[in-house]
């Protein structure tokens, strides 16, 4: 069976969930060979093997942390040349898409970004994408070269499928471009203890109706009662009530959780672009005419300052 390269997104050896989803999808089109780079790369092997990686190619060098994107492109290209895979899959993070694009150009291959599903086809993998603010679904394939495809988080359920996961050292020679953009400083984001927004099974979001940074506490309390991530609409972010990293929408993150709860969000097209593929959608809004109600499975027309605390209390009671 043909091999498929899977680029591993990890933090100091801890593999992030979208990579495990990618391994599940990769098995539909071939045998997954994982590529893990940077600090802790070899520590990813056990988890990757458990989820189907037959081989794990690893390489660590200071360049991965000290310079932007290109060292990782050089390494993925080295893996591509060593493996001659049938496809290359990369998580659809901002950095993942940049790495994938540059690799695709170098190897003369087409690229598909933000796939939400992947199937084997007669002429190579067929990717499903959700476009125009999720109002259309397309099926596409790469028609030139080796398909390079980036896949969005939450596109597949993670399935364990134990494989050998043999660790092999990847040999990498960095290009002249590798050191072009220096990372001169890095401030780690403080952990909130909540799930990562794009990976969370439940997302609780607040918008204009939350009416102030101080009021986001009730949104966070609801999120915590459900073990959910907190999102915010662009209006709430632009007003400075919540960090941009939590913005859901066209210019923020797109999320596709099992449950999305929109609080005080009207549902402008830009916001819908980021959450419309959520499986179950719930909204609480004072305005019965808000477009968000066109999307919901369950909506409450009411003041979120009454409804949300009551909901949070009821969830806590039910969970005991």
């Amino acid at each position: 069976m043909a091999e498929v390269l899977v680029y591993v997104d990890h933090v100091d050896g801890a593999v992030r969930k979208p990579t495990l989803e990618l391994l599940t999808l990769a098995r539909r089109v071939g045998e997954p060979v994982a590529v893990a780079l940077g600090k802790g790369a070899a520590d990813t092997a056990a988890t990757l093997a458990e989820h189907g990686a037959t081989r794990v190619l690893t390489h660590d060098a200071a360049e991965y942390a000290d310079y932007l994107v290109v060292p990782k492109v050089d390494a993925l290209q080295a893996a591509y040349e060593a493996v001659s895979p049938a496809a290359v899959l990369v998580p659809s993070s901002a950095e993942g898409k940049e790495i994938a694009a540059r690799l695709a150009l170098r190897i003369g291959s087409g690229i598909i970004t933000d796939a939400v599903d992947l199937e084997a086809g007669d002429e190579g993998p067929v990717a499903t994408q959700s476009v125009f603010a999720a109002s259309f679904t397309t099926k596409s394939r790469v028609s030139k070269g080796t398909p390079v495809i980036t896949v969005k988080p939450n596109s597949a359920a993670v399935e364990a499928a134990p494989a050998a996961g043999a660790v092999e050292a990847l040999s990498v020679t960095f290009s002249d471009q590798a050191t072009g953009t220096k990372v001169t400083g890095r401030t780690a984001r403080e952990s909130t203890g909540r799930p990562e927004l794009t990976e969370a099974a439940i997302v609780v979001s607040g918008g204009r109706g939350v009416n102030g940074a101080e009021n986001f506490g009730i949104i966070e309390a609801l999120a915590d009662s459900l073990g959910a991530a907190v999102g915010a609409s662009r209006a709430a972010v632009d007003a400075g009530w919540y960090p941009h990293t939590n913005q859901v929408g066209q210019t923020g993150k797109s999320v596709s959780p099992q449950l999305y709860i929109a609080n005080g969000i009207s549902g402008a097209i830009q916001h819908r672009a980021g959450m419309q593929t959520s499986k179950t959608i719930v909204a609480i809004n004072k305005d019965a005419e808000a477009p968000i109600f066109d999307l919901v499975d369950y909506g409450v027309v009411g003041d979120l300052f009454d409804v949300v605390p009551q909901l949070t209390e009821e969830i806590k009671t039910r969970k005991g």
Binding site: I111, T113, Q177, R186, T251, D297
Partner: protein
């Protein structure tokens, strides 16, 4: 010293319109009004701010690839304050994918001459967000992308990139390709004076032969990817909507419990 900035902009179908596909599975541009991609306004704004904050002689050129109507996007950028515009237009460009688009942009940027390229973080129609990285790869210059803050001084571009795990300070020598996010700073509205002045600013038109690009390298036939099917997402079945009369939170909890979320 002088600094030549090229801002890449895209003319996109209005997201609030009814966007759909044409028979050949390319984006139907006839039925929906187009406009300058909102995310590219941030790129124009940062170019203008770099220009205004510089002691050097700065020239801001806006560049687009697209049909006749795409001139509207250039006109908007000129009315914001850009100095001149380049429009690459050719019938053979219809259906070009990101690889072809990045080729045309890169050739045009090289022909125009540049010290700095500034792009928006993504277009609001395709939303792939890969053009800036592809331009850096094609032009062989550093990419300094997804910046929420950007500045240029003494031949060096600096910026802040806010990622999921960390916020990074970046630095590269010019020439370079930069992309900016919607957090980089509100884009200005064109003034009446700006709109009047824009009418007199030069707009150059180039076609594929001006850029030494063969028709087979671009367009639907030259694309490295193929859309095989496009279907409208089925309308969601109407949900249950209740009015809160004191028990709204409890009713919602009951629904969530029924769906096994609690």
């Amino acid at each position: 010293m002088s600094l030549r900035i090229v801002v890449t902009v895209k003319y996109v179908p209005d997201a609030t319109g009814d966007r759909h596909f044409a028979d050949d599975l390319t984006v139907d541009r006839d039925d929906v009004d187009g406009l300058l991609s909102e995310l590219d306004e941030y790129a124009v704004e940062q170019a203008l701010q770099i220009s205004e904050n510089s002691d050097d002689d700065v020239e801001v050129t806006v560049l687009t690839v697209g049909p006749e109507d795409a001139k509207d996007a250039l006109r908007k950028a000129l009315s914001m304050g850009a100095d001149k515009a380049i429009h690459v237009e050719d019938d053979d460009l219809h259906g070009t994918d990101v690889m072809g688009t990045s080729l045309v942009l890169a050739k045009a940027i090289e022909k125009a001459g540049f010290d700095l390229v500034i792009s928006g973080m993504a277009s609001t129609d395709g939303t792939a967000g890969v053009i800036p990285a592809l331009l850096a790869e094609r032009l062989g210059v550093p990419q300094v992308t997804l910046l929420s803050e950007v500045s240029v001084e003494d031949g060096t571009v600096k910026g802040r990139r806010d990622g999921d795990a960390a916020s990074e300070q970046l630095e590269a020598a010019l020439p370079a390709v930069v992309s900016v996010t919607d957090q980089s700073g509100e884009a200005r509205y064109p003034s009446f004076k700006g709109i009047m002045a824009a009418k007199k600013k030069p707009v150059e038109s180039w076609d594929l032969s001006d850029l030494d690009i063969e028709a087979e390298e671009v367009g639907l036939e030259g694309a490295w990817t193929k859309v095989e099917a496009a279907a409208e997402r089925p309308a969601r079945t109407a949900g249950t909507i209740v009015k809160d009369e004191g028990e709204g939170g409890k009713q919602l909890a009951e629904f969530l419990a029924g769906q096994k979320f609690i």
